[in-house]
């Protein structure tokens, strides 16, 4: 019955339903007439009577036809559903008979989908998810540019920001902020937290972020005599204050002072980065134009193009540079960028990493698709015979196609489900290792669109190549194929060529990925081992800014820092102490042009060198290697010419091969002379990139800014000095806020770029190696399997089994060898492309390349040997009978 029903499914027309109804009714009328005739009526009366008993024949016929149509339509759907379930369970049975194939495809889909979807999902909060602020495209951040130092985000002073507020017409609002770390001491859980100090219009006018509870800042909050207020970040509110809504209006202690909580921001309102736990209004009233420690953001007016807006800021800078040549004029210009990009302090790097991940993912995806394609091709190729037999036994073409497709569908469903699971797990795992301080919108969550994309790409491979033989079947006369036995050896030349190409391509991409991964691992290792020129492990950094109100004169600032240095140096556990500006690796770079008297070069044309100011004790505290002479002391400004300590890079450049001590160096565009009293090692300053920077250290007494960094050297863990150092500062000025951090935090941030990507890439490399090995094994083994017939023929003709086997293995080695060659070319190109991300630049690691090459050639050999040995053990005659 079901066969006939199935038959009806296809194109049973309206007309045939009518015919069927007619047949049923005719049978009845004929039969009834015959009965009546047998009961004694004459034939024509009997006929008449039968018709009369039927009633309105036309109406009956019509109603039966429509009833039948309705039934057919419903049956159609049920049948299709039943058919699908049937097809799938049949496919499951078939696949269970070849678990190797099924497992390979499923594993490949899982890894391919999981890797692609998770990388996109993890990157989504950084690049694609929109900022949580209305009309966020109008938000920009500005920075001073120091072209020589390659620095674009140097800060502003409040006086400068006020000038921009007055003059830039295309900005709807200009805000400013900085951040620091504070002690939360209310309750019994003192906690150190990063806080943002923002202009009162930052939330209300610039970001336009509405608070979850209470209010954000108003201009009065920064006014004279205003109470201390704080707005909490959602995470601090949840974690420390148990998400208690009544917190608004109560008071918490920040750095020992009571602050009234006036509001709680929404969870998504991250500013300027995820680690910030609360915000204070900026209440400074400094007019010191040179105290440039504040960041400037702006919301451009509606309709203002970003480039135009930034251009107006730049032209204002140009006029300010004329008015203030010693302050604004020192900068090369102004840089502006969308807020998302600017807040993400590793934006360029992250974008590069993303590109690298993308490359790796695409590589893995290519391998995955090649795998699935290769083994599906191999499998279906050998099944053409089976299909031919079934076809000649009368299986419908549609039936065969449906069966093949349903196998692929089943694999895609299972692989897709597992891939989704893998993507979810990977996304969660990768999300956990990302540093919270990098600006992002929300947490990484599985991106559905990407998941669908990955599913579509990977799952289409088995679908396409599952369908291919079915189409081949329908094109050709299968019975003749079977008769001729041409299918036996899988002799379709096109298919064989395709498979060879797949192996070569797969090995190539695999070798390249593994090689590049090796480079990244090596680069991460090298960056971790890099000689920085100083010893960060034992350095504690205390940052403080002496307020202009308490210390109006430069001499007073200098006196404070000298007293603080003595107090810190005397604190228990401190081995050495000194202060410096700017701090190494802190992304604040100052430079000066350098030359020697009489070198004939215009001072404004001389090469730049990094310039720092250091106090007595600093070099010892930072563990900077001294090469010759002495370091700076407090009395170094006495006399006509100040002392200077240069790094070895400077000495080699200016006085190659000569003793620099006692010589004169001219610094700056004014060619100010300094006498070299000491030479120290070059130090990593502008990032950790494998080449320590050349620099000069001037005496601190020449430095005028208020913000400086105290470096304290500990015998062991530098954070153990936190208490004593804080007390030491307190003994000099109890009211001065001091921020503490371990120097290694900065080193970690600087090396993060080398370490972060490499872990993930290593994972991809491993996956690529695994997948490609599986794929190569599958294809080669299958190809050799197919050659058993040919091998049997040769052996029956007297060829030596080991020689036949050897040829098969050699063929496989040649194939993987071509792949390795392709891989080397690809690896070379990829290493060049990734150069900027590699510590110490691009290179090729012969060891990694050799390992990758050996693995793939080895896989090829093993994949050939196993079936070849099996073949050579069988009696040739028996083999000939197989198939």
């Amino acid at each position: 019955m079901s066969i006939r029903r199935a038959f009806r499914l296809f194109g049973r027309s309206h007309r045939s339903i009518e015919a069927e109804v007619d047949e049923e009714l005719r049978f009845h009328l004929d039969g009834r007439a015959a009965e009546l005739k047998a009961g004694g009526l004459d034939p024509s009366d009997a006929r008449e009577r039968a018709l009369a008993e039927m009633g309105d024949l036309h109406h009956v016929r019509h109603s039966l036809v429509s009833l039948t149509e309705r039934r057919r339509r419903r049956e159609g759907w049920t049948m299709k559903l039943e058919g699908l379930v049937q097809d799938l369970s049949y496919a499951a049975r078939t696949l269970r008979r070849s678990p190797g194939y099924a497992l390979t495809v499923i594993l490949t889909l899982t890894v391919g989908i999981g890797a692609t979807a998770s990388v996109f999902s993890v990157m989504n909060p950084f690049f694609f998810r929109p900022l949580p602020f209305p009309d966020a495209g109008q938000l920009i951040q500005l920075g001073h540019v120091n072209r020589e130092a390659g620095f674009e985000w140097a800060r502003f002073s409040l006086a400068q920001i006020e000038d921009y507020r007055d003059r830039v017409g295309s900005a709807a609002a200009i805000g400013h902020y900085y951040y620091g770390s504070y002690n939360l001491t209310d309750g019994d859980r003192p906690e150190r937290a990063t806080g943002g100090v923002v202009s009162t219009n930052t939330f209300s006018e610039v970001l336009r972020a509405t608070p979850l509870l209470g209010r954000s800042f108003q201009p009065e909050d920064a006014g004279p005599g205003a109470a201390d207020v704080v707005v909490l970040d959602h995470r601090l509110w949840s974690a420390r204050y148990a998400a208690d809504p009544s917190i608004v209006g109560s008071s918490i202690r920040i750095d020992g002072r009571a602050h009234e909580v006036i509001g709680v921001m929404r969870e998504e309102a991250v500013f300027p980065f995820g680690g910030v736990r609360f915000w204070l209004p900026d209440r400074r009233a400094t007019t010191d134009r040179g105290n440039q420690g504040t960041l400037m953001i702006a919301r451009l007016a509606p309709g203002v193009d970003r480039a135009e807006g930034i251009a107006e800021f730049q032209s204002v800078h140009a006029s300010l540079a004329v008015a203030w040549p010693d302050v604004d004029g020192r900068w090369d210009g102004l840089h502006g960028a969308p807020l998302r990009e600017a807040l993400n302090f590793i934006w360029d790097l992250l974008r590069l990493s993303f590109t690298a991940f993308l490359g790796a993912v695409l590589g893995v995806l290519v391998i995955a698709c090649v795998n699935v394609t290769g083994i599906t091709l191999a499998r279906t190729q050998s099944r053409i015979r089976e299909l031919g037999v079934r076809s000649s036994l009368g299986a419908g073409r549609g039936r065969l196609v449906r069966q093949l497709v349903s196998e692929s569908v089943l694999l895609a469903i299972v692989g897709g489900a597992l891939g989704t699971l893998a993507a979810a797990v990977l996304t969660a795992g990768l999300g956990d290792i990302l540093p919270p301080d990098i600006y992002r919108v929300g947490d990484p969550t599985l991106d559905v669109r990407v998941l669908l994309f990955a599913l579509a790409v990977t799952a289409s491979a088995p679908l396409l190549f599952g369908l291919w033989p079915a189409l081949a079947v329908s094109r050709r006369d299968l019975a003749s194929l079977v008769r001729e036995g041409t299918v036996r050896g899988g002799q379709s030349r096109g298919s064989r060529r395709l498979r060879r190409a797949l192996v070569i391509g797969e090995v190539g991409v695999g070798v390249a990925l593994v090689a590049v991964t090796g480079l990244f691992l090596q680069s991460a290792r090298a960056a971790g081992d890099a000689d920085l020129g100083f010893e960060p492990d034992r350095m504690l950094i205390a940052t403080a800014t002496t307020p202009a109100f308490d210390y109006p004169e430069t001499e007073e600032v200098g006196a404070f820092w000298e007293s603080a240095r003595e107090a810190v140096a005397a604190a228990p556990g401190v081995e050495a102490a000194g202060f410096v500006y700017p701090l190494l690796l802190n992304n604040e770079l100052f430079s000066a042009r350098m030359g020697v008297p009489g070198d004939g070069v215009d001072p404004t044309e001389r090469p730049p060198v990094f310039r720092l100011w250091a106090s007595e004790g600093y070099f010892e505290a930072a563990g900077i290697r001294r090469i010759a002479g002495r370091t700076l002391v407090a009395s170094d400004t006495a006399g006509d010419v100040s002392a200077v300590v240069v790094s070895s890079g400077v000495a080699e450049r200016l006085w190659p091969g000569a003793d620099p001590l006692g010589r004169t160096i001219e610094l700056g565009e004014g060619a100010t002379p300094y006498r070299v009293v000491g030479v120290v090692a070059d130090q990593a300053h502008d990032g950790i990139d494998g080449t320590p920077d050349a620099m000069v250290y001037l005496p601190m007494s020449e430095f005028t800014s208020r913000r400086r960094f105290m470096v304290a050297r500990a015998a062991g863990d530098p954070l153990a000095l936190s208490g004593p150092v804080r007390e030491a500062f307190g003994s000099v000025d109890p009211g001065l806020p001091v921020d503490l951090q371990a120097m290694n935090d900065l080193v970690f941030q600087a090396t993060f770029q080398w370490s972060a990507g490499s872990g993930v890439l290593a994972l991809f490399g491993l996956i690529a190696l695994l997948l490609a090995s599986i794929g190569v094994y599958g294809i080669v083994a299958h190809t050799v399997e197919e050659r058993r017939h040919e091998m049997a023929v040769r052996m029956s003709l007297g060829a030596d089994a080991s020689r036949v086997g050897g040829k098969v293995v050699r063929d496989s080695m040649a194939l993987t060898g071509w792949g390795v060659a392709l891989g080397l070319v690809l690896a070379f190109a990829a290493a060049r492309a990734a150069e900027a991300m590699l510590y110490g630049g691009a290179g090729t690691d012969p060891l990694v390349l050799m390992v990758a090459a050996t693995v793939f050639v080895g896989v090829g050999v093993v994949a050939a040997i196993i079936p070849a040995r099996r073949a050579s053990r069988i009696e040739p005659v028996a083999l000939l009978r197989v198939d």
């Binding site: 047949e23 049978f27 009845h28 004929d30 039969g31 024949l57 009956v60 039966l64 039934r71």
Partner: protein
């Protein structure tokens, strides 16, 4: 309802058709024959209505149909009681007897007649006495 009306009560046709098919699969002509014979000619219905009932029952999944060959050798459409039809028949028969009994009680003993109306007491609903065909 006129006393002489011999047309079938609404809803009972399906019940009777299911009952007939319970004995054996049959084509429409056979069902018509059985209905005429078993009711002693009392039940008079148009054969068209019977076929409509058969098709409705098939659409409801209570009977299934298949083409086969009649005794005459001609192709005929045979109807078979489906499992759902069997369950439905039991339920319908029970409710029919409850109804008939209720009607009999309302009519009272003075209108009582020996016969089918007593059958419901026996509980198993499908044992209504059949007149010889």
């Amino acid at each position: 309802m006129a006393a002489t009306d011999r047309s079938i009560l609404p809803g009972t046709l399906e019940l009777l058709v299911l009952r007939v098919l319970r004995d054996e699969p049959s084509h429409g002509l056979g069902v018509a024959r059985a209905l005429r014979g078993r009711s002693g000619g009392v039940i008079d219905l148009k054969d068209g209505a019977l076929y409509q009932a058969l098709h409705r029952l098939e659409n409801d999944g209570l009977v299934s149909s298949d083409w086969g060959h009649a005794d005459s050798g001609k192709r005929a459409k045979f109807y078979t009681l489906a499992e759902r039809g069997r369950t439905r028949l039991d339920a319908e028969v029970r409710s029919w007897h409850r109804y008939a009994e209720a009607v009999a009680r309302v009519l009272g003993p003075e209108f009582a007649r020996p016969g089918p109306s007593q059958a419901g007491r026996h509980g198993s609903g499908d044992t209504a006495p059949e007149p010889a065909s």
